[in-house]
Symmetry: C2
Subunit: 180 residues, 2 copies
């Protein structure tokens, strides 16, 4: 069964850094977004990614203070992405790939449900360790790392398209840079 409308959602997804309108995100939608994240594949099925959705007003306010406005400042919900940096086999780890795939699934689910978001990872994991402070506030054990915050909400402004290189500079058939 072909479902070409999924391709359109993938092409339409954008990073949104603007304000959110006041509309709350129903629990049912947050649950569906979390389920989409957990459905991502993981290296050797180690399922290294865990998730915390935050919609409690007091807790949300505390996290937003740690994150620092304007990032996430008007979001009615924030999904925090946790990882356990464990070995998959030998000396190989795939926890970064695992949480990235989970995040992409959630961004698509967020988009499919009519919301907007943005992948905030660098801001959270830079030297000032905002993610570590958020993890403490959320009672996260020390063997987990909080690596990403995803705001979820209805965008109050237009969602802009990024400038992307043309297809022919990044993808080819049957050889690097091949022209067929």
């Amino acid at each position: 069964m072909r479902q070409p409308e999924l391709l359109q959602t993938i092409l339409n997804r954008r990073s949104y850094r603007g304000r959110y309108d006041g509309a709350p995100v129903p629990r049912e939608d947050l649950q569906a977004i979390l389920e989409a994240g957990l459905a991502a594949p993981s290296g050797c099925n180690k399922q290294t990614t865990s998730l915390i959705a935050v919609d409690d007003p007091a807790l949300l306010a505390d996290l937003k203070k740690l994150i620092g406005p304007p990032v996430c400042a008007t979001a009615p919900a924030i999904i925090c992405v946790l990882t356990r940096p464990i070995i998959a086999y030998g000396d190989r780890t795939y926890f970064v790939q695992d949480y990235a795939a989970a995040i992409e699934n959630m961004l698509l689910a967020i988009c499919a449900l009519g919301y907007a978001s943005c992948w905030y990872e660098g801001h959270i994991t830079d030297a000032d360790d905002i993610g570590g402070q958020m993890a403490k506030r959320l009672g996260v054990p020390e063997d987990y790392r909080l690596v990403c915050a995803l705001p979820v909400g209805v965008p109050a402004a237009p969602v802009r398209e990024p400038l992307k290189k043309p297809f022919a500079e990044r993808a080819w058939f049957n050889g690097f840079g091949a022209k067929e």
Copy 2:
């Protein structure tokens, strides 16, 4: 506009390691899958991921010899994922996250178009450096790494569900391990 059918595709996607039937993958479908991959976000929009779709029979046979049967052995097409491990800002890199998000987009697109696939990364990037040999055969410059092979085709056997931990062990609302 809500598109809940996308959530179903995300939940239905599975890793498939079985045989493919003989049906070829039309160029139009490969093109759509590549476009889905390129549509993934990337850290600081560095667009570190590039892609090569292989459907030429002679080239495909050479790659399959390098990969080693049974992995990808019966696939009518293989998408090779390339990355450039470049700095996004300061000393931070996001190329792993970038290609993982692109791979997840492609796996979903593959599934949405009625095909199956599997994320072969460890096999390609282990110490025997199969990816490096594939990159040479494809004319990939030395500043790129070939990190993943995605077979694409119509599955000849049932696609099995993996054993996954229950939701309550991996996702919570408003606190780690919280019961509401």
